[in-house]
């Protein structure tokens, strides 16, 4: 046979700060013929997956396998955990480009990198989206206008050449704003003009990508995005007391506290999926300690959430 027996086993990464729940889920998964790795926090999970840059870890027991050796087919995580809740692993990127082709492309690239994406076609719309509406004329009936507190943006990636407000103009406006100057900004351009590149970097852009942008380019952005997440995390902990975990053991039969992400597996392996079902996060049942939490019903992204993992999505 082409595939060895060991390769039939799915490897699940289980994340839960409760030791009891870790033992339970480990046993459940083993009974479902899965290989299991358990970790007790979102940070450890990201470390395990290899997203180690930018994450502070003082833990001597930190796991550190090389990403190539680890194949994870599914991550199952508790929602309520101190520090990093499950919904906060996903980075939200605001992409700005006047070209529809390029918007589609960058959207897909970011989705493939497991990011949530919002695309807009101008710097004005970008500022509107972020909430920087003062002083900006907008006659557009389709203008987006979420309240700034509801939207957390971890990175802004913008084309340089745009009519009206260029990417550089947008960069300047962002860096001049107290609220948004800490959001990392990346500039994209199809032209390699050194003076342009250095001007953007001097103004505070993190990176400058030449188009067409590749998946590998985006992988370099994770550390930048992690910094904003960790920074926001620390701010939240200062504002409110940290939420404790559920005092009651969750019933396994009704895993409302669990957020399950399912990777699309090749169809011949589908029978294994019957043990795991997608569950909607029930927000009102969770101890909300901040209003930045994103639900799975986030209307900004059309993609199903998928961790970035090598070797899963490749076609046969």
């Amino acid at each position: 046979m082409g595939m060895a027996a060991a390769e039939w086993k799915f490897h699940v990464l289980a994340v839960d700060d409760s030791l009891v729940d870790r033992k339970l889920i480990e046993r459940l998964l083993q009974k479902s013929s899965c290989q299991v790795t358990t970790v007790d926090s979102g940070y450890k999970a990201l470390e395990f997956l290899g997203l180690r840059q930018g994450i502070e870890s003082n833990d001597p027991t930190a796991l550190s396998p090389s990403p190539q050796e680890v194949e994870v087919n599914l991550i199952i995580t508790d929602y309520c955990m101190p520090g990093m809740t499950a919904a906060e692993w996903k980075f939200h990127v605001l992409a700005v480009d006047d070209s529809l082709v390029d918007r589609k492309l960058i959207e897909r690239l970011l989705q493939k990198s497991s990011c949530q994406v919002t695309t807009v076609d101008s710097g004005y719309k970008a500022l509107e989206f972020l909430g920087l509406r003062q002083g900006i004329e907008s006659n557009d009936p389709t203008a987006l206008s979420p309240s700034p507190q509801e939207v957390e943006v971890n990175l802004i990636i913008t084309d340089y050449c745009m009519p009206g407000m260029t990417g550089y103009d947008l960069l300047k406006k962002l860096k001049e704003s107290a609220a948004f100057k800490s959001i990392p900004v990346v500039i994209m351009s199809s032209e390699n003009v050194p003076a342009r590149i250095s001007r953007c970097l001097e103004e505070g852009a993190e990176e400058f990508f030449l188009k067409p942008v590749r998946l590998a380019d985006l992988n370099n952005l994770k550390p930048h995005m992690m910094k904003t997440k960790l920074k926001n995390q620390k701010l939240e902990e200062i504002e409110k007391p940290s939420n404790g975990t559920a005092a009651v053991e969750p019933e396994i039969k009704n895993p409302t506290e669990m957020e399950i992400k399912i990777l699309p597996l090749p169809s011949e392996l589908e029978p294994k999926q019957v043990h795991l079902q997608e569950v909607q996060v029930q927000q009102e049942e969770l101890a909300l300690s901040n209003n930045k939490r994103k639900t799975m019903e986030d209307g900004l992204s059309t993609a199903r959430p998928r961790p970035r993992l090598e070797g899963i999505a490749t076609a046969v």
Binding site: S99, L100, V101, D102, K104, L105, R108, L109, Q111, K112, C161, S190, K211, P212, R214, L215, P264, A303, R304, R306, A313, A315
Partner: protein, 154 residues
């Protein structure tokens, strides 16, 4: 006997793509597009290419209208249109279209009207060739999907 048609169609697809790469019609960016397509986004390549066709045709029509006008002088506008064409062609891996657009753009920067007219003809020619090839590719892929759905009774 399963899917003999699938193998033949796959071979046709591979041959077409190889030929397009050898001719320089497509470059590795097209491969990047294919890699972005998967079960969660199964028609990504088709969707993006169709957006590209829509956008490009609007730009080409506009360019033709501009240059056909006897009193034409707005070379800057031509340049802006061409920037867009260069950018989107590059984004989808349409190497030859991109290159002839760059050549056309050089003529517009020199305010060279005959050069622009020639440039436009070349761009239209390359664009139409690409479009025909893409249609052929999509047809083959569609046929292969259908053929893969056929199961012969054992």
């Amino acid at each position: 006997m399963l899917g003999l048609g699938v193998d033949r169609l796959q071979a046709d697809i591979n041959r077409l793509l190889t030929s397009l790469f050898h001719q320089g019609v497509l470059d590795e960016q097209f491969l990047q597009l294919q890699q972005l397509q998967d079960e969660t986004s199964p028609t990504f390549v088709y969707d993006v290419i169709n957006i590209y066709f829509d956008e490009s045709e609007k730009l080409l029509r506009s360019l033709r209208l501009l240059l056909m006008d006897r009193e034409f002088s707005d070379y800057k506008k031509i340049g802006l249109h061409l920037n867009q064409l260069v950018g989107s062609s590059s984004s989808i891996g349409a190497r030859r279209v991109r290159n002839v657009c760059v050549a056309f753009r050089s003529a517009s920067e020199l305010n060279n009207r005959p050069g622009c007219l020639r440039g436009l003809e070349v761009v239209e020619h390359e664009y139409n060739y690409l479009k025909n090839m893409m249609h052929e590719l999509f047809q083959l892929e569609q046929q292969r999907l259908l053929a893969a759905g056929v199961r012969y009774p054992m």
